[in-house]
């Protein structure tokens, strides 16, 4: 198996996640790996990115010298405008999110389990930084896609039978995309749909606490 740098892993995840996009999709990209997805939008596809602080049509980072203190994304980074963008208040932004108008929400995770439960906001005993908009996003977006490294830095599984950490949302995750595999959350459990070319189904299962269902041979994940 190839040993990838963290940066390569993150790019691999983002590249695969971008294949979930479709023309005309309204999406929210979380902080971290999800932010990278914007770099891999397939050609011929136009998506509209929402920033939950109050913008649709978020563009790339501004050119040097064109930064505007009044124009940031939810990660507080300076961004630019795309034609057709618009602004709205936090209340209107979360009405949009909660009301199911965002097609796809990509988020990172500390843990995901086979019921689609998600934990990504706090570790008991450690500093609580706050959930920000994550609880609203996972409750409101029509599809929640978790993008994360398959295991922790120490190699411990993050895809579990049941989450140990406090939940961000219950039964909210629909798809998990990692540096090793694409996993779909179904009523029957976690279905292994794709694996990367440089690994095996057995390795993916060994890096996963939850049992993976394989109703059909997994496809090769595009990397």
């Amino acid at each position: 198996m190839t040993h990838l740098t963290d940066q390569k892993k993150r790019e691999r995840i983002a590249r695969r996640a971008a294949l979930e996009l479709y023309d005309g999709a309204y999406v929210n990209l979380g902080i971290g790996i999800p932010t990278l997805i914007a770099n891999y939008v397939p050609a011929g596809i136009a998506v509209v990115c929402q920033a939950e602080n109050g913008m649709l049509g978020v563009g790339p980072y501004p050119f040097e010298g064109q930064e505007d203190a009044d124009l940031i994304n939810a990660g507080k980074e300076t961004v630019s405008e795309l034609p057709g963008c618009c602004y709205f208040s936090s209340a209107d932004s979360f009405a949009m999110i909660r009301g199911g108008h965002i097609a796809l929400s990509f988020l990172g995770a500390m843990e995901v389990d086979e019921l689609g439960n998600l934990a990504n906001w706090t570790i008991p005993g450690k500093l609580v930084k706050g959930m920000g908009g994550a609880m609203d996003l996972v409750a409101g977006a029509r599809r929640v896609v978790v993008t994360m490294e398959h295991t922790s830095k120490k190699g411990a599984p993050k895809i579990l039978h049941r989450c140990n950490l406090p939940f961000t949302g219950i039964a909210v995750v629909e798809t998990i995309i990692t540096d090793l595999a694409v996993i779909r959350v179904t009523k029957q459990g976690l279905v292994l749909e794709e694996v990367v070319p440089d690994t095996t189904v057995e390795h993916v299962q060994s890096a996963t606490e939850a049992a993976l269902l394989i109703p059909a041979p997994p496809r090769i994940m595009a990397v």
Binding site: N53, A91, M135, A139, G140
Partner: protein, 233 residues
């Protein structure tokens, strides 16, 4: 009708110790710089702050935190202020964390005369503890209550002396909704104009919500995370 107050100091002169105050802004974008500075200069204490976050060390609500003026904070995120982190670790500070959308909607409810509403955010999580849970169409929702304040400090781009406000880009964020939810709303603007100058179709906060308005001075408008692309050669 003229709601103009001559200075930030005058606009905040009657705020008592122990007041509950909402602060517009997301990070340090769209924050009421002048009003915060004037309140810090007064050294009122025991303030209960409501705002998405507490900005950064040395700017925004961070200044009030450093001055020891804050008794508690209600918001959705605290991660970008190191002093706040250490206060929380030492348990010398009370914080009430709320999902960002629930925070926004509770504030909107206060302004809109809705005492309570149901939301799916946080159902099944720690946030649900002690709250009424109710199913609609087979899905659990939490009952959340309106969140009011004594004062709201908001920052707009332009405003007129009747209190009509227009925000600019993502500096809008929590400002319009907070303007509706306080007994006294104080607005600061980069440009104060005469009534009739602002396009009536493009006013974000109708003047009815604003009780005092000041022309802000010397805006710093700091940037928290300057991310840029190289200009192509």
């Amino acid at each position: 009708m003229n709601k103009t107050v001559t200075s930030a100091a005058a606009a905040v002169a009657d705020i008592p110790n122990g007041a509950t105050i909402m602060f517009g802004g997301f990070g340090i974008c769209g924050i009421p710089e002048n009003l915060i500075a004037a309140l810090v200069a007064r050294r009122v204490t025991g303030i209960h702050t409501i705002g998405n976050d507490m900005g950064i060390d040395g700017f925004g609500l961070g200044l009030m935190l450093e001055a020891g003026m804050i008794a508690s904070h209600t918001g959705s995120y605290v991660g970008d202020n190191k002093l706040l982190e250490s206060l929380l670790v030492s348990r010398s500070f009370t914080i009430n964390l709320i999902p960002q959308g629930t925070l926004a909607e509770r504030i909107r409810a206060a302004g809109a005369g809705i005492p309570a509403f149901y939301t799916p955010a946080g159902a099944g999580t720690q946030i649900a503890e002690g709250k009424e849970i109710r199913e609609f169409n087979g899905r659990p929702y939490l009952l959340e209550h309106a969140l009011h304040a004594d004062f709201a400090f908001v920052k707009a781009w332009r405003g007129d002396r009747m209190g009509n406000l227009v925000y600019r880009k993502t500096a809008r964020n929590f400002n319009p909704v907070m303007a509706t939810a306080a007994r006294v709303t104080i607005a600061e603007v980069e440009e104060l104009v005469e009534p009739g100058v602002l396009d009536p179709d493009a006013i974000h906060t109708p003047g009815i919500y604003v009780h005092r308005i000041i022309q802000g001075e010397r805006y710093e408008k700091r940037i928290e995370r300057r991310t840029v692309r190289k200009v192509p050669a």
